[in-house]
């Protein structure tokens, strides 16, 4: 799912749950996701570019 589609569905879900104030936070999250997705260390499954080593388990 791309960030634009994700944001649209997240906004709709927040409205459905009666949480319209969530909208700015979701928009910020979408922008942050975009930054991560555009970073130069992302994988390229085609093998077209080097990628960063795998991250360790999320514990520090």
């Amino acid at each position: 799912m791309n960030p634009e589609d994700w944001l649209e569905s997240a906004r709709a879900d927040a409205e459905r749950r009666g949480l319209p104030d969530l909208r700015p936070a979701l928009e910020g999250l979408a922008r942050a996701a975009g930054v991560l997705r555009e970073a130069d260390w992302n994988d390229d499954a085609s093998g077209g570019s080097d990628s960063a080593p795998n991250a360790p388990p999320p514990a520090g």
Partner: protein, 455 residues
């Protein structure tokens, strides 16, 4: 508003108690008097433990008279952020969500402080569940900066910082998940230490984001911070309080790109002046680059709010109205993070850890400001920095959150004040906490500036 004061050192108080110049009971009574006089307007405490503190102080005095000396903290009044458990006392985390809670046992850190003879005067106010940097969202009301009641003392350990600056305690234990020790230390002119990740146990501490959470001290001096670290860390690796060494020959990296891009003019001036003093003392300062530092806020956000949302998921469903609205929204946002973005954030974190370690290679530390702005006005959503208005949360976290991602030890040391008297802090980052404290002890006098050099 008054200019920042020179705060009394807990080590000096401990020496005075041991020398018979004062007693723990007298020092504790003084702190409790200040709490009674000033806390109605500052709101630093959620729970004051006056009777228990006086009992502990009298016990400390009796022990010393009988020849039992528990060390530098013996008899010293200390406050505890109300996110650490104390047996028989509520741990509110500044939230109505925990209004029925009473801790069954002490957090490990609290146990160690008691064993070291510290007198625990009460539990301090914080940003609800430590999820914020201003202390405004608390079920118990905001904390007011002791030097300017219209401003925030920083957060989330804002009550801890305010309690020291106002003279209600000689030190405090805080937690730091994105800067919550170092930010209020900077805003209040204190030393604040975030040790290396997992160096101080978090058992008995309400988690915010478990892989970012750190426990550490706020206090007056680097030596004070080292004394508390020696008590609360699993394996502190320090024989005694570090003594200032020779500054000449030390080498610090200054990460200018990203970190100095958004900086209040007076903070920039104070930081530049501190750098100039260090250079004059023979410290080598050279620029370093953390190539992917610009991705820090995105990675931090994805990991922090996801971990926090997982912890709060059950009460977000069952008691949503018991959260303050802003904190509830931040937590709810974490429930929408996609797994693939969370994993990208973890990859970014690994990369940043490698880059910070590379920047520290061959250096005694990194030096940067601790907070990009002085204490912010209460109620402000944005703050003016140069020609732009920046969101308060973003600008206050900007210089500290990287080192929660990477786990490197980092500490705030005061480095001056604005023309209006608001404190400004510098931040030192290291590889190992004992070495960071030794370097900080050597550089403290130069970083603080000549006005405070004779302390």
């Amino acid at each position: 508003m008054t200019v920042p004061v020179e705060l009394p050192s807990l080590l000096d108080l401990g020496r005075a108690i041991r020398a018979g110049e004062t007693t723990s009971a007298a020092a504790t009574e003084r702190c409790l008097e200040v709490i009674r006089d000033r806390d109605p307007s500052i709101n630093a405490f959620i729970t004051v433990l006056a009777d228990a503190a006086l009992d502990a102080a009298r016990t400390a005095d009796r022990e010393l008279r009988s020849g039992r000396d528990r060390g530098p903290l013996h008899g010293v009044p200390i406050s505890i952020k109300d996110i650490l458990d104390m047996a028989g006392v509520p741990t509110t985390a500044a939230s109505h969500v925990r209004r029925e809670h009473v801790a069954a046992s002490d957090a490990t850190v609290v146990t160690r402080l008691r064993e070291a003879g510290a007198v625990l005067v009460g539990k301090t106010n914080l940003h609800e569940f430590a999820l914020g940097t201003t202390n405004e969202e608390s079920a118990y009301g905001p904390v007011h900066h002791p030097l300017d009641p219209g401003r925030s003392p920083g957060g989330s350990s804002g009550g801890s910082a305010a309690s020291i600056l106002a003279g209600m305690a000689y030190a405090s234990i805080g937690t730091d998940t994105g800067g919550s020790i170092r930010i209020p230390a900077a805003a209040c002119g204190l030393v604040g230490l975030k040790p290396r990740y997992r160096e101080v146990p978090t058992r008995g501490v309400v988690p915010l984001s478990a892989s970012f959470d750190h426990v550490g001290p706020l206090c007056a001096t680097v030596a004070d911070a080292a004394s508390i670290f020696r008590v609360i860390a699993d394996a502190p690796g320090l024989d005694g309080a570090p003594r200032p060494g020779v500054a000449r020959g030390l080498r610090l990296g200054v990460p200018r790109r990203y970190f100095l891009d958004i900086l209040d003019d007076e903070v920039a001036g104070a930081f530049d002046a501190a750098c100039a003093r260090l250079s004059s003392a023979g410290v080598t300062l050279d620029d370093v680059v953390i190539p992917h530092a610009g991705e820090t806020p995105a990675a931090y956000l994805h990991v922090a709010i996801t971990e926090a949302a997982a912890f709060h998921a059950r009460t977000l469903e069952s008691r949503p109205d018991d959260y303050t609205p802003t904190v509830r929204v931040r937590l709810e946002a974490g429930r929408y993070v996609l797994a693939e973005d969370y994993l990208r954030a973890q990859r970014c974190r690994h990369l940043l850890r490698t880059e910070v370690s590379a920047a520290l290679e061959g250096r005694d530390g990194l030096l940067l400001p601790a907070m990009a702005v002085p204490a912010t006005p209460l109620g402000a959503a944005t703050v003016r920095v140069g020609a732009t208005d920046e969101p308060v949360r973003n600008v206050t976290l900007r210089l500290t959150q990287l080192f929660n991602l990477t786990g490197h030890p980092a500490m705030t040391v005061p480095c001056g004040a604005t023309g209006g008297g608001l404190p400004i802090g510098a931040q030192l980052v290291g590889t190992a906490t004992p070495e960071l404290l030794r370097v900080a002890a050597t550089l403290e006098m130069h970083i603080r500036g000549e006005r405070l050099a004779s302390r």
